[in-house]
Every structure is written in C-alpha cells, then in structure tokens.
C-alpha cells in the first residue's frame, strides 16, 4: 500500500506542481516551489528503491527502471536549483517576461511528470504517450525565447520529433500484433511484464520489423546519427536548464525504451539479435560527432555534439552486450547524465557572464572568472574521459570488453574516443586562456549543483559502493 503510494507520488507530485505553477504569478515563489517539488519527487523516488510495489497493469518498478528514475529525479532536482538562479538573470536582462516564466515553470514540472511516467509505465502504449508528451513540452520550451533561431530550432525539433514518435507508434502497434495471437487481445498484449514473459511465443518476423521501426523512432529521440539533426539546434537555442535536462535525461528515456524492446527481442529465439544494429548506429554517432566537434563555433552546440557522441557510446555498449559491456553502458549513461548536466550549468553561467555563446567571444576565462573556469575545466576533463573521473572507468571497461570480443570494433571505438578528447581539450584551451574578453561581469548564480555532480562523478571513478555495484550488475545480467 505504502509502496504504491510512493509510486503515484513520483508521478502526481510533478503534475500537481505543474498545475500550481501555472496558476502562480509570483516568480520568486514559483522558482522556490519548483525546487521544492523536484526535491520531494526525488525523495519519493529514492524511497521507491526500498519499498517496491508489485507490478500492476499500468505501472512497474524493477531494477532496470529504478536506475533511470532515481537519476532522472535527482538531476531534475539539481537542475531546478540551477534554473532558479539562471532564470532570475534572464528576467533581469529582459530575455523572458514574468508570464513566460510562469509557463516555463509549469512546463518544467510537466516534463518531469512525462519522463517519470515513461519510465514507470508497464504498458508500451502508455510509455509511448508519455514520450510524446515529453517531446511536446520540450518543443515549447526550446521555442520560449521567440528569437528567429529558437523558433527554427523548435520547429525542426517538432517536425523531426513527431516523425520519430510516429514511427515508434507504428512499431508499438506491430509489437501488439506480434503478441496478440500468443497472449490474447486487449491490455495483456501491451503490458511489459506479460510481453517479456511470453516473448518466445511471438511471431518473430513481425517482431523484427517492429524493432526496426522502434529503433528508428526512439533512436530519433535519443539523437543517434543519422537521426540527430534536431539535437544541436534544440540544445543551443533553448534556455540552458532545458539543454541540461534534454541532454542528461530525455535522451536516457529514449535509450530506456530501446533497452526494454531489446529485452523483448532477446526473449524470442527466432528474432534477430538487435546488437549489431545498435553497434552500427552507436559507432556511427560516436565517430561522426567526435569529428564534428572540431569545426564548432558555438559553445552550446559543441556540447550538444558531445551528447550525440556519448549517446553513441551508450548504444554501442548495450549493443555489444554481456555482463561487462552492459555494466559499462549503465555506468556511462549515469556518469554522462551527471557530467553533461553539470557542463550545461557551467556553460549557462559562462554565457551569462560573457554575454555570448560564440567560442571566439569567450576567452581568458581563467583570469576573469577563476572559480567558474576551474569548475568548467574539471567538467570538461570528466566528459573527455580523463581519469580519475567515472567516465574514464566506464570507457575503460567498454574498450576492454569490446577488445575481447572484436579488436576491430575496439579500434574504431578508440579512434572516436581519442578524436572527441582532442577536440574538447582544444576548445577548452581556447576558452580558458588568452586575453580576457570584455563584457565580463561577476555571475551571481550558485555553483553548488555543479560541484555536487562533479563530486559524484569523481567518487564513482575512485570507488563505487558495493550496493551500487551489485545493483548495476543485476541490471546488466537482466539485459543479457
């Protein structure tokens, strides 16, 4: 009873907060309320770890989605802290009006609701609806500045996102059709727990074609190349807290959906193994994005491409499969979410301090804003995969386990990693040193969320607590 109460709290709190925030005109109060609601949701999701409700018809909590849900609510919480200080600055400079701010806060909580719903759903249709809702709310937020660029980005995101989501729905319908002869009509044929348990009896050719549509559909949402075209624009033109949530969380939700369907495929002996497809798309994204990092001139677009790169690594890891690679994939996903959102927090501060997103306009950060430069350098070291941060651990595990299976693939993986590493350090050097560019005023915002994220990433690189290891191992085994 208490457990299912927690489950509903995880979803209903953001929803109630969204309604309240939409009605509340005072923006200072509403940004506080935003933080509070996110904190309560995080608390509820942590409590879910200890008290798990039994899988129902519509909702499900297991080891796999517990990882995602805790990560989502945690980053949702830290981002709301960052957002409170960031948004105050946007209001001062007149980029947003109080009315838009109200809209922004309501949308933020609605997005949290949609992501939690997608992760907790035990029904493929419900999950699809939630992903669609998440897409629509982020479209609105990307376009919130109403400049030419942000409208273009929102439109592009909307069109490509809808096409992706349409293909995913077609895949969902095909999965239902494949399952229906074996488990009967109606709800059971759309319920994850029933589907996974009966996967062996499904019509394999139909399942194959369904997975192709699902991979294209949810792959578009995850930003895998060549379906990534919306991603750099959406990340660079929206408010920075949204870039952090998009990169850190929404991409993960799409990956989660793919993992569930991959489990379904693995349960059916006659269906093809989705591994090679995921490896190909992952490797393509990694290599493409790593080399596309070099010509970037806009700081937010730079890190958007870096997100494509890391989503590629994650898809690659789950494609390779096996206990070690799956573990590496999970760890990498967690570390990437934490690090990338921390990066977007710092980038938000840097852009506000320097008044430009152009890399050429941001120089001499080390002398003008030492503390910010320090945090930024640490973040970039972490995302580039330098030890002792957690991303190094996961990349190391991935490279070694790939090498054991296929040295050629490991070589390509290494090439992508090194290319991305070089590009990021090159850009970092250009921004930190040199003559300090003008327009430098002291940012008032808080650096606390950045250091919390960095501390966790550092900690994971040095020492992973045994319960976390056991938890990740059980998920890795489950993924096969």
């Amino acid at each position: 009873m208490r457990a299912s109460l927690l489950l509903y709290a995880t979803m209903l709190m953001p929803l109630a907060a969204a309604a309240l925030l939409a009605a509340l005109p005072a923006y200072r109060l509403s940004s506080l309320l935003n933080v509070f609601a996110a904190l309560m949701t995080f608390a509820a999701s942590c409590a879910l770890l200890f008290e798990r409700p039994a899988a129902g018809v519509y909702f499900l909590v297991d080891d796999l989605n517990a990882v995602f849900i805790v990560l989502t609510t945690f980053i949702g919480f830290t981002t709301s802290i960052f957002s409170a200080s960031y948004i105050a600055h946007e209001l001062e400079t007149g980029k947003l009006t109080p009315l838009y701010l109200r809209f922004y806060h309501a949308m933020y909580q609605l997005l949290m609701f949609a992501m939690n719903l997608a992760l907790l759903a035990n029904n493929i249709g419900l999950m699809w609806v939630a992903v669609e809702l998440a897409t629509l709310t982020t479209v609105m937020m990307v376009g919130i500045y109403r400049t030419h660029e942000s409208l273009e980005a929102a439109w592009k995101y909307f069109i490509l996102g809808s096409v992706g989501i349409g293909l995913a729905l077609f895949g969902t319908i095909l999965v239902y059709l494949a399952a229906q002869p074996a488990v009967g009509e109606g709800l059971p044929a759309m319920t994850w727990t029933v589907l996974i348990a009966n996967a062996a009896k499904f019509d394999a050719p139909l399942l194959n074609i369904a997975f192709v549509f699902l991979l294209l559909g949810y792959g578009t949402k995850a930003g895998l190349a060549p379906l990534h075209a919306w991603l750099p624009d959406a990340h660079s033109e929206g408010p920075t807290p949204i870039s952090a949530v998009l990169s850190g969380l929404l991409l993960n939700v799409a990956i989660y959906a793919l993992l569930r369907f991959k489990l379904l495929m693995a349960g059916n002996g006659e269906a093809f193994t989705p591994g090679p497809l995921m490896i190909t798309l992952g490797l393509l994204s990694l290599l493409f994005a790593a080399f596309m990092l070099y010509p970037r001139r806009d700081i937010k677009r730079l890190f958007a491409y870096s997100s494509i790169e890391h989503i590629g690594i994650i898809a690659f890891a789950f494609g390779i499969g096996g206990a070690v690679a799956n573990f590496a994939g999970l760890l990498h996903m967690t570390m990437h979410s934490l690090t990338k959102s921390a990066i977007f927090f710092t980038v938000g501060h840097i852009v506000q301090a320097k008044g430009t997103q152009r890399i050429s306009g941001i120089s001499g950060l080390a002398s003008s804003h030492p503390m910010l430069a320090f945090a930024f350098a640490l973040c970039v070291f972490a995302i580039a995969g330098l030890p002792p941060f957690g991303i190094f651990t996961s990349e190391f595990m991935l490279v070694t386990s790939t090498f054991a299976k296929n040295p050629w693939l490991a070589g390509l993986l290494g090439l992508g990693l090194i290319a991305g590493f070089g590009a990021l350090l090159l850009k970092l050097q250009a921004m930190l040193f040199g003559e300090a560019s003008k327009g430098s005023k002291e940012p008032t915002a808080t650096l606390i969320p950045i250091f919390i994220h960095l501390a966790i990433v550092l900690m994971a690189g040095l020492y992973l607590p045994p319960p976390v290891v056991a938890w990740f191992q059980s998920v890795a085994r489950m993924l096969g």
Binding site: W128, L136, G143, E152, L169, F170, L177, A189, I209, P295
Partner: protein, 220 residues
C-alpha cells in the same frame, strides 16, 4: 458475406492510400486542405467499418473523432489561417511533383512487399490493412520532406497520423487507451502547431520555413 466484408475494408483502406497520392499533387494550399478533409473522412469510414466488423464499439469513438476533428474542424481552421495570411496560392515543393509521385508509388510497393513478407501468420484483414497503413505513413513522411511550407508540412504530419490510426484500428482488440491517446496527442500537437504558426507569422510575415533557414547564417 465474409468476402464482401473484406472487400469493403480493403476498398476503404485502399482509398486512403489513393487520397494520400492525390494530396501529393495539389498545388494550392486551399485545395490541399480540402483533400486532407477527404482523407480524414475516408479514415473515419474505414475505422467505422472496422468497429462494425470487429464488434468493437470503442472504435466508433475514434471514427467520430477523426470525422469531427480532423475531417471538419482542423481543415476549416487552417483554411481561415491560410486565407488570412494570403498564402493560399503557394505550395513550394522540393524537386518536381512528378518525381515525388514516382517516389510515392515506390513507397507503396515497398510497404506491400515488407508487410506481406513478414506476416504470413496474421489474418488477411490485419495484413492488408497494415500494408495500406504503412503506405499512408510513408507517403505522409514523403510529403513532409518535400514541402517547404509550414502548413503543408503539418498536413503531411496529420496524414501520417491518419495512417497510424488506420494501423491501430486494424490491430484487433487493441486497447482503447491507445486510440484515445493518439487522438489526444493530435490535439496537443495541433495546439503546438497553432502557437507556432502564430509565432512564425508574427516574426517573419511568412510561413515558408526556408525563411527560417536563412537565420542560421554563419552559425555552426
């Protein structure tokens, strides 16, 4: 009896593909919207027929929604927007209409081949419905890709959704949740689009999305 039931279902689903093709060669926005209304009405008939032969009354709701919302309300509203903006004459396509039509025919063939190959086990009704639905989806996609105008991209998106609903209705016994949600999401999507059209006009006095591309300028 059995034969005529199938024939009517196929006739309706096939007509949907045909109307999709007709959409492709419209050269005015107003006529495109009229054809889209027909598209939605054919969909409503097709879903209604499925509701009748499957004995699934909830599908009638989906059919009515398709008829009232997409067959009447949306075309009317879009028509007014288009007239008010004074863009009813222009449809700019990427590539010629002839090539687009050929591509559409190829897509129809592709969807037949793919679906018939993978579903030897499924019932004939579901199979052919699914093949037609995939064809409608792919043609909708093609339309979105080959049109520059925001309104016709939206029409392309909506006909894609029509294909999805046809597929969902053809899947026997698929829970109501999904149909409602599909319809609901279209509603939301439409609100979004409405806002966007409004904003695009406000900013650029045009709904040609290539105007948007210009502003990317030298940004990388």
């Amino acid at each position: 009896m059995r034969g005529i039931v199938f024939d009517i279902a196929h006739l309706l689903a096939g007509s949907l593909v045909l109307v999709s093709l007709i959409q492709l060669y419209q050269d005015r926005l107003t006529s495109l919207l009229r054809v889209f209304a027909i598209h939605a009405i054919v969909l409503a008939l097709s879903v209604g027929w499925q509701a009748y032969i499957q004995g699934a009354p909830h599908l009638f709701a989906t059919a009515l929604l398709a008829l009232g919302f997409k067959g009447i309300a949306i075309p009317l509203v879009l028509h007014r927007i288009v007239l008010r903006l004074g863009i009813h004459r222009e449809i700019e396509t990427v590539g010629g209409i002839g090539i687009t039509m050929l591509a559409a025919v190829a897509l129809i063939a592709l969807s037949m081949v793919v679906i018939f190959k993978v579903t030897p086990g499924a019932s004939t009704l579901a199979r052919e419905d699914l093949a037609f639905a995939l064809a409608v989806i792919l043609i909708g996609l093609l339309m979105m890709v080959t049109r520059r105008n925001a309104v016709s991209q939206v029409v392309g998106f909506m006909s894609l959704e029509n294909g999805l609903i046809l597929a969902a209705a053809g899947a026997k016994g698929m829970p109501l949740v999904v149909e409602i949600s599909v319809a609901f999401s279209i509603l939301i999507a439409f609100i979004v689009i409405g806002i966007f059209l409004f904003r695009i006009r406000e900013r650029f006095d045009s709904v040609d999305v290539s105007t948007l591309d210009r502003f990317r300028g030298g940004r990388q």
